[in-house]
Symmetry: C2
Subunit: 423 residues, 2 copies
């Protein structure tokens, strides 16, 4: 008998038919003798519907008063889900009880719409589990110190599930979703992309942040911090597939390198075409310049991803960074209107919104030399020019012309033999 | 400056456009210097949509576990409403904060789907009012002693509003709805029906229970118990109508007879065609017979309205009662299968689903003789046969053939001069 947390995403909860399937799947796990906690998302489309109503009434603002009400509103989506799932489980003859985050309680700070979990009281849940009940807990939300409802931000249900698993010291946290695991890259770009049976926590972090949108990155951080074994698997298999088979399906995110079965140097190719590049050329190479440029950008609430500063030449340096497409025009204006004048008029700003970022990710890179140069060679053989390079211990990213993205991903997938099982 | 509770029904909250109108109306009252608490219902159709989802998953049952989940589900409708209304008020430049019932808290018993309010903690609300905020509280729901969400049953938002008004000792509770007050009878049946400027609490109780569905009856009981001045008025007037005019519009439900401005003997004609008649004929006229018959019916959770037992003849009595149409077939079966055999096979059961109940209601009946006979004469002059009669201090009801309902209501409305203002 194990204590297992199941998380079901919005698509898995997308209709009463789908919810009935989830109930049958959970019932199967219960009948196999396991204690099950379920953390469902809102029915797909519901959160957007609710926030859309708010937008019809007033433009979005950043006041705490406004954001508090958004959380009152948005948190109802998951409450509907837990009530419906409890009803469906009871109809299956399984004792089940649902809780909103505030009932557990899941305590958070008071940063409305992007709260962070402080603690989870496991007493109520554990008592119900010991009484033979399935416990269903709203994802995405909690309660702050003053008794207000908070939400964790988009994708927060993954984080809720992992946090609940950590609090209960669950044996495993299963993230049921509409994909059947983590792939070496996006199969829509590379049909030969292969599902990974295991992936390390660190690799998963790099892949999630680089655009493999299987898991919310905060949930992976949480899983890493509390060593919660995490498995991503499909909720679109028939609910009655053999439980032993299901328990081994999908992709397991591991925390111990020794356990890694696949000793590939590179585990996957991530990519992202949502970014634009901005360069400030010929800035004086003086202390504080990076802050002068990026401080202004950060003050305008613009998030920056890749940041590169070249070595200086003639006392001048070139400074480049990438921002989300949505912030591109605003960032350019800001630099031209505010930052350049402060730099004394010698520097120059250029931008390019048609870029993409392609990254190779692999824990094996730590102990293998020449991985980056193999990447650069493969790209150059295809005539793909590299505009920016940035590296970390387990990934190397390049910024290239957007039009080469698919070619680059396919090329790298082949160059690192990712289509070969166990390579 | 007064402390006023506004309650808005589902139609008034039916769309973001309507919610924006409610916000403007509340803002007008706030700017006139009043402290305002708003209790809105769920957006029209939302509660049915949610309960419909539950029905798609499982047949309704009466277990506490199931009903608890229905309340988790249904309570979200009002939570959406309060969040949206707070956002709309903030967009009007009015400070506003919303609370779910559990946050106030509104404490109830644990009778899920039909809970009763035990107490309301007014501290949080009062602090917000004193800080200049409009406080918006979910109707229809509260929290039980164990921290579970409960709902008060259909129309429970009226009760919530009155209970909040009682707890805050509000100066008045305004029930904004899609009708502009309480009428002498349904204007769809009698076009000459007239709005009452005032109606006594007792009359309102009789009219609400008899089918004039303007206010939930429990809210009227609550208002009577705590002497909360209650006004029913329209939310479909332009929001910017003069506040002094609005404050006098609709129908005021009074608690002091002396204040009654309209000294009519009969205030209104109520009617109900949702009932069916069942008669048990020739039962032995012995102690315990009524209990033997109605006890079985009550045990089957069937609600009974009119109950009549005639004087006995030859040691046999006839016993009749009415039930809701939905329970008619079940009640008949129950009597034939269970009760008749126990009565020794001498009695006989007959039923008629095609009946209606028509009532005259008026506090003036207390001090006027001959009111009932005037009713019977008016009906007989139209050739309407009376099947059952039941009376209380301030109403007289008759059960007649369903097909005569409109004719009876029109006839009585005219017979008691209800189309005449101040008659």
């Amino acid at each position: 008998m194990a204590l297992i947390v199941h998380k079901y995403g919005g698509t898995s909860m997308g209709s009463t038919d789908r919810i009935a399937q989830v109930a049958k799947r959970v019932a199967k796990w219960t009948r196999a003798g396991h204690q099950i906690v379920v953390v469902p998302s809102a029915m797909s489309g519901e959160t957007n519907r609710l926030l859309g109503l708010a937008k019809e009434l007033a433009p979005a603002r950043q006041t705490a008063e406004y954001l508090r009400e958004l959380d009152m509103l948005a948190s109802t989506g998951e409450q509907v889900s837990v009530g419906l799932l409890a009803i469906a489980l009871q109809a299956e003859g399984v004792a089940a009880v649902s809780y909103a985050g505030w009932q557990v309680p899941i305590r958070t700070d008071n940063a409305y719409t992007k709260a962070r979990i402080d603690s989870i009281d496991d007493r109520k849940v554990r008592a119900d589990l010991n009484a033979g009940k399935v416990v269903i807990i709203t994802g995405f939300q909690g309660i702050d110190g003053a008794g207000n409802i908070t939400t964790l931000g988009r994708g927060g249900s993954d984080t809720s599930a992992v946090a609940v698993a950590a609090a209960l010291k669950a044996d495993e946290c299963l993230i049921f979703t509409d994909v059947d695991g983590v792939y070496t890259t996006d199969p829509r770009v590379v049909p030969e992309a292969r599902r990974l049976h295991t992936v390390s926590f660190e690799e998963m972090l790099e892949m999630a942040s680089l655009g493999s949108k299987v898991l919310q990155i905060r949930s992976v951080e949480f899983a890493g911090k509390y060593k919660v074994p995490l498995r991503v698997l499909s909720s679109f298999t028939p609910w009655d597939i053999d439980i032993a088979e299901e328990a081994k399906s999908g992709t397991l995110i591991t925390f111990e390198e020794d356990e890694k079965m696949e000793q590939a140097i590179v585990s996957g190719i991530a990519f992202n075409r949502d970014e634009a590049k901005i360069s400030v050329l010929g800035v004086p190479d003086l202390p504080g310049i990076a802050f002068q440029i990026l401080g202004a950008v950060a003050d305008a609430n613009i998030e920056v991803d890749v940041i590169i500063q070249n070595v200086s030449r003639d006392g001048k340096a070139d400074f480049s960074f990438t921002v989300h497409h949505n912030d591109y025009a605003r960032a350019l204006d800001l630099l031209k209107d505010k930052v350049l004048p402060a730099l004394g008029g010698q520097a120059n700003v250029v931008g390019d919104p048609r870029i993409c970022k392609v990254s190779i990710v692999g824990i094996g890179m730590r102990s293998h030399v020449g991985v980056a140069s193999k990447m650069f060679r493969a790209l150059s053989e295809e005539g793909i020019n590299i505009q920016m390079i940035t590296t970390s211990e387990i990934k190397t990213s390049v910024v290239i012309d957007e039009k080469y993205m698919e070619l680059a991903v396919r090329t790298l997938h082949r160059a690192f033999d990712l289509e070969q099982p166990g390579a």
